[in-house]
């Protein structure tokens, strides 16, 4: 009888152990089912205002600034950038992920030289004359004035409904002829298209010297390529992370006597090239 007690106790403990294991297994399964500790945090809520001055109200257009909520994580291309050695798929959920990329990009030399029939010069030299000179005839700040002309800088189709105008300038000569136009657009977040905010700048002009057209635009030399865009040669500055368009991209073309400069930020290379096609085709 005494010999059986320890055996029974052993059996009881074993049974309780098995039951506890099943209970634990079920508990873990339950946590996994509802997301457990790794469940996503709640969506953004409005919070307290800054204490020293009143909380900013909505802008004059009534919109309150808010960051996009769906931060992309997905690795898409893999590998490292041959120019900087940095991964092409950074974890963009981490703060300051872009800092090493910015620093690496800032160390790259600027491109200066002739490519695809146009000479690229550094921006910022006020003594550089690159637009056809003529007796000035004023300007308008309405990009629509360029529509239907070879200087069309209205919003390309790809960005319709996804961008807003920031500024525009259409320049006239005294005889009423156009000499150039420029416009800048702010591109809104559109996660379904892989856009997380950016900008587009369009500048089109008759060059100061049609035999030696010049475009003043800062492009990092290792990013510059000559490519065919809209059926002709073009200078293309590939964004450092081309699949997401992080940082700057550009297309510069000299065609039919008009220099076209397209600068983008935050737009994937594929979209930049579509935009260039749309700008360069007669609209």
């Amino acid at each position: 009888m005494n010999e059986r007690r320890p055996r029974r106790l052993l059996l009881l403990a074993g049974s309780l152990g098995v039951l506890a294991l099943f209970l634990l297994g079920g508990f873990i399964a339950g946590r996994v089912l509802v997301g457990g500790d790794d469940a996503a945090p709640a969506a953004a809520e409005g919070g307290g205002a800054a204490p020293a001055t009143p909380s900013p109200a909505a802008g004059e257009d009534g919109r309150q600034p808010a960051p996009p909520r769906d931060v992309p994580v997905a690795p898409t291309v893999g590998g490292n950038d041959p120019v900087t050695g940095l991964p092409l798929d950074p974890d963009r959920t981490k703060p300051f992920w872009a800092l090493p990329y910015l620093e690496a990009e800032a160390r790259l030399p600027f491109f200066e030289g002739k490519l695809a029939g146009v000479t690229i010069r550094r921006a910022g030299d006020p003594s550089l004359e690159f637009v056809r000179q003529c007796p000035p005839g004023g300007y308008t700040e309405d990009a629509a004035a360029s529509q239907g002309t070879p200087f069309d800088v209205t919003l390309p189709e790809l960005l319709r409904g996804a961008a807003e105008p920031v500024r525009a300038m259409v320049l006239y000569c005294a005889d009423g002829t156009l000499r150039g136009a420029e416009a800048e657009y702010f591109v809104h977040t559109a996660p379904e298209r892989g856009w997380y905010g950016g900008s587009l700048f369009l500048m089109r002009y008759e060059p100061f010297d049609p035999a030696e057209p010049v475009a003043p635009v800062d492009l990092r030399a290792p990013r510059v390529r000559e490519m065919t865009v809209a059926g002709g040669p073009a200078v293309v500055a590939v964004p450092p992370l081309p699949h997401i368009g992080w940082h700057d991209g550009a297309v510069v073309v000299y065609r039919d006597g008009i220099v076209t400069v397209i600068r983008s930020a935050g737009l994937p290379l594929a979209d930049l090239l579509v935009l260039a096609e749309q700008v360069l085709q007669p609209r």
Binding site: G26, A50, G59, A123, D125, P126
Partner: protein, 219 residues
């Protein structure tokens, strides 16, 4: 007997699933789940801390000025152009954003822009300093914030002694000065301030912001 045992085990497992699926309202949230509010104020950028306003809100400072969200500040040839900001954040202390200096050259006037991206790299628009050049295009700097406000004061460029001919011919420049504007309507404009051309303003006092915006982080 075997079936009863299986049923008991199944019931215990099911009980575990139910317990696991129950919410835990009193449990603290995940360590990283924080909602934080941020406000960034950008102040006028002329070199002088007490700067003279040349032209109140305008697009082009013609007579009369065209409508717009820019201010013209007195700033002599080659005088510094500064990024001045105050940043507030509700939780932590440290950077709220990165500013990157960009040299721009459009058909008309020459400008330096500071492109602002928050620390997660979401763009917050930019601030443009027209009639300006820079020696440091592409450089980035940290924009500070704290629960009791933190300031950032960085030289980003200089005022041009002479603008290009197209800018002059367009009537947009007659003498060296700083034309400072926002890019992106996310920036709120301090319309009620800076209404007295010829007056000087302590440009870095907390009330004398030129543009500002707020956003929220969940991280």
């Amino acid at each position: 007997m075997l079936t009863v045992r299986r049923l008991v085990l199944l019931a215990v497992f099911g009980l575990g699933v139910l317990l696991g699926a129950l919410p835990f309202p009193s449990r603290p949230g995940p360590a990283g789940a924080v909602t934080e509010n941020v406000t960034l104020q950008v102040h006028p950028g002329p070199a002088a801390a007490n700067a003279v306003l040349n032209c109140s809100w305008h697009g082009a400072c013609t007579s009369p000025p065209t409508p717009g969200s820019a201010l013209d500040w007195n700033n002599g040839p080659n005088a510094d152009v500064r990024w001045r900001s105050w940043g507030w954040r509700s939780v932590g202390t440290g950077s709220v954003a990165l500013g990157t200096i960009v040299q721009e050259q459009g058909m008309t006037c020459t400008a330096v822009a500071v492109s602002v991206k928050d620390v997660f790299n979401f763009p917050k628009g930019s601030v443009r300093y027209s009639h300006s050049g820079t020696w440091t295009p592409g450089w980035s700097f940290s924009i500070a914030g704290s629960p009791s406000w933190a300031s950032t004061n960085v030289v980003v460029g200089f005022t041009l002694a002479l603008e290009n001919q197209t800018c002059i011919n367009s009537g947009l420049w007659t003498a060296p000065h700083l034309h400072q504007d926002r890019v992106g309507t996310w920036w709120e404009v301090n319309w009620g301030n800076f209404l007295s051309p010829g007056s000087s303003y302590p440009v870095f006092s907390l009330a004398n912001w030129q543009y500002r915006q707020s956003w929220t982080w969940n991280y």
